[in-house]
Amino acid sequence: MGKTLAEKIFSEHVGKDVKAGDIVIAKVDIAMAQDGTGPLMIKEFKEMGFKEVKVPKAFLFIDHASPSPKKELSNSQKMMREFGKEMDVRVYDAGDGISHQILAESYVKPGDLVAGADSHTCTAGGLGAFGTGMGSTDVAIIFGLGQNWFKVPETIKIVISGKLQKGVYAKDIILEIARLLKSDGATYKALEFHGDCIEGMEVEDRLTISNMAVEVGAKAGLMPSDEKTKEFLKKMGREEDFRELKADPDANYEMEVEIDASSLEPLISFPHYVDNVKKVSEVEKEKIKIDQVFIGTCTNGRLQDLEIALRILEKHGKHPDVRLIVGPASRKVYMDALEKGIIKKFVELGAAVIPPGCGPCVGIHMGVLGDAERVLSTQNRNFKGRMGNPNAEIYLASPATAAATAITGYVTDPRRFI
């Protein structure tokens, strides 16, 4: 019997053949925590008496509340920097950007096992790595021992075929998956993506899909490592990190889901759950007024996302009642967007361009909503209170839908402007 990608990656990290359902002790390649989970991770690392960091690549990211808006947070961040120095762990600080984007740009290799104290660590699946989110204590154990226990997950095979229509993007694919599987449809399981739509897709878009695997409960969202992966790694200046990695054709899947990409339309997730998905074309007539549009995050804050949004916005301009916030996902994205004149154009259009980081998405600072306000965001979650106010409403969609909405001031199908 052949292996799924999850089974292959775990077998390599355990040192023997393992299969779905096995509980194993596996070595971890990359481990990280961010400023929301890092301080507790450090506390538990010390509590367990560890004296050195044993995972090959360990990082701390100050990306959630960054630069710090509050003294309590500044003190936690100070503690992270001190730990970084003491343990020789690299700390990415204010202005560097979001953990998942930096890991994808600079560190993640196909076949890696990546454990992060952040639920969206599954983003690494876009490069054919098993990335999974864990709690602070689990990551502290990995920092200290270089390994932890895992259950090798069953896998759901998702076959996406056909060509996306104009105005429809990777974000719409993962929203369709959320609609189909619901928020717990893949709990304890891995998703594995197949089909000609995926084969033709750039890694940047694959990262968007893998990023939201956790929104259907999945432990990982695995893409094949192929020519597209090689192209991406080459672009990042690390072609030598490439290896081809695919599931065996006779691997065993718990379930198979087929999606015809050509039949998809722009989709939108309504408050307060990601799986509350509707067609933008069907809700457009309701003229749902939007106060704030946020284009950014680890889901959709890459260069291509900013380009798509700008292309739509620049012809028509922003509605005067909409606050537009743009957040590049990393320093590299920010630099590339600067060089291409994208940032200048956004500023001219009336946008607030914020430093690379998680920003409004986590509800701590920058872009916290007022009571009864509505935001349309390109992020991955719309839980009640997520963006800092439980009396506000969060809608999730693609950068194109976000841009179209910023033009009209209400939820709008981007195909009108393409």
């Binding site: 928020s183 717990d184 304890y188």
Partner: protein, 166 residues
């Protein structure tokens, strides 16, 4: 044996309901953060919950972020056990790691707010002392029971130096 009074919650209680992002600055002060536990699902829960009480919820309890603080503040608030139709994966693991037992029970709808429960974790028996009904749940895997016995993985590793045998 766990014994306590029931607090009922619905489906899909997220980590944002349990530990809202607007209290992010309290994450290094868990006693303070615990005063807001589950605030966005039941406003005065933290004030009303008593030591030993039991949360009974619907499906997918704890979905969302990896914040272990969510499981920790439920425990700090005094909750002795969470019973739900199902749990989100990261929360499930975090809870056992910090010594908070979780039970999956499909008949949660039959249990009411305020009922008195008695739970035998090792044998997988839950008794509703108020209604007189008795339920059997899949016993917690031995691996996780070992961690619970030491009140969490940190104590377990400190004492035994290695993971429980799988």
């Amino acid at each position: 044996m766990i014994k306590g009074k029931v607090w009922k919650f619905g489906d899909n209680i997220s980590t944002d309901h349990i530990a809202p992002g607007r209290y992010f600055h309290l994450r290094n002060n868990l006693e303070e953060l615990a005063k807001h536990v589950l605030e966005d699902a039941m406003e005065d829960f933290a004030k009303r919950v008593k030591k030993g009480d039991i949360i009974v919820a619907g499906k997918n309890f704890g979905l969302g972020s990896s914040r272990e603080h969510a499981a920790r503040i439920i425990k700090i608030a005094g909750v002795s056990c969470v019973v739900a139709k199902s749990f989100a994966r990261i929360f499930y693991r975090n809870a056992f790691n910090v010594g908070l037992p979780l039970i999956e029970l499909k008949e949660v709808d039959e249990i009411n707010q305020g009922d008195e429960l008695e739970i035998d974790l090792e044998n997988g028996i839950l008794k509703d002392l108020t209604t007189g009904k008795e339920y059997r749940f899949n016993p917690i895997p031995r691996f996780l029971l070992e961690i619970l016995k030491e009140d969490g993985i940190v104590n377990y590793l400190k004492k035994h130096g290695t993971f429980p045998r799988v």
